[in-house]
Subunit: 188 residues, 2 copies
Amino acid sequence: MRQLSDHIRSIIAISDSRLQLLCDKFDKNTFAKKEHILQTKNNTSEVHFILSGCVRTYIYDLNGVEHNITFSIENWWFGDLQSFINKTLASFNIQALEETTVLSISRKNWDKLLKEIPEFVDYTRILFRNTMFSHENRILQNLSYTAEERYRHFLQDYPNLSQRISQKHIASYLGITPEFLSMLRRKK
Amino acid sequence: MRQLSDHIRSIIAISDSRLQLLCDKFDKNTFAKKEHILQTKNNTSEVHFILSGCVRTYIYDLNGVEHNITFSIENWWFGDLQSFINKTLASFNIQALEETTVLSISRKNWDKLLKEIPEFVDYTRILFRNTMFSHENRILQNLSYTAEERYRHFLQDYPNLSQRISQKHIASYLGITPEFLSMLRRKK
DNA sequence: CAAATTTCTTAAACTACCTTATTTTTTTTG
DNA sequence: CAAAAAAAATAAGGTAGTTTAAGAAATTTG
């Protein structure tokens, strides 16, 4: 639980005892490489905090083509928040790209924490806000950069990610074909 | 203030007296067509709720090209939230596309409301969450749809907006040139 | 309401990125 | 560690979207 505690305290102040109460609501789970953690049209009963490993969140478009929306690694949260919060069926798929160990929290416990621990309300509010801002920036980048520029930014912004994730998946995240990414890489 | 009250009550429950307290913190302002409400590198001291009119939020990319990020109309909030919340300099420009009347709230009053009125905390939390979800969906659409599909979706999702806003601005929002949008429109 | 300005349209040449197909390299699995 | 499977590279031909430029239509302004 140390990793989660540290992450929470990097964002808000909270006493040891309340932090303990908070952490007690999480369960440790491990997913094998390639295992699906969530698939569309299922209920999203949990969200997860990664202790180790890496997952991708993706959708299928109308032509059945996969598109990676985000990658998540150590000390990041992931889950279909939209469906978790609104109690709707999942619209995302989530798959482990490596063996991945997480701390999971159920919606029941999530709601309990929101009621019982005001610091958790602050914590999640700030998390969501930051997510909103990073989404905003991604929209910006998609509007104003070419594929090549987006790739260079990706390398700069996530140098460790680009080592761990296959080009196929990076291409999908950038919105281009693996073949075109391969060509960009050769150029330089 | 009726419009703002209605909007707040469509999202959370709040007593008449506290709603009154809340609304008292806003000031009415009017901006002329083409007037800039915010420009990059200024301080974002306020965010706004639109009573009437329409604004666009945009950036310049590295080549000096404008890109529209969002349009906002009646009963929507707008502002550079990122800079408002984090007290950093604005990274967005905001311009009125029509004569626009708004209710504005200063950061000082915003912070006061967060402290004094718990319902306001809930209200803004839900607003931010919804913004996050709609950003998520926009990223999705940019990844999986062609320009033509994005245009059709725009027409469907915002039928009244497409009447009020010039094609030039719509093209910029969709991430294409006005010439190409014009060509798409001719096709059907 | 005429002149000036901005927006929209059209069209041809061009480029970024896609498709398809084949080969090579890397990773996974029994 | 060999066989099978998946990922990456290469290349040719195709298409979605851009650029440039010029004229037509609409809007703004004096």
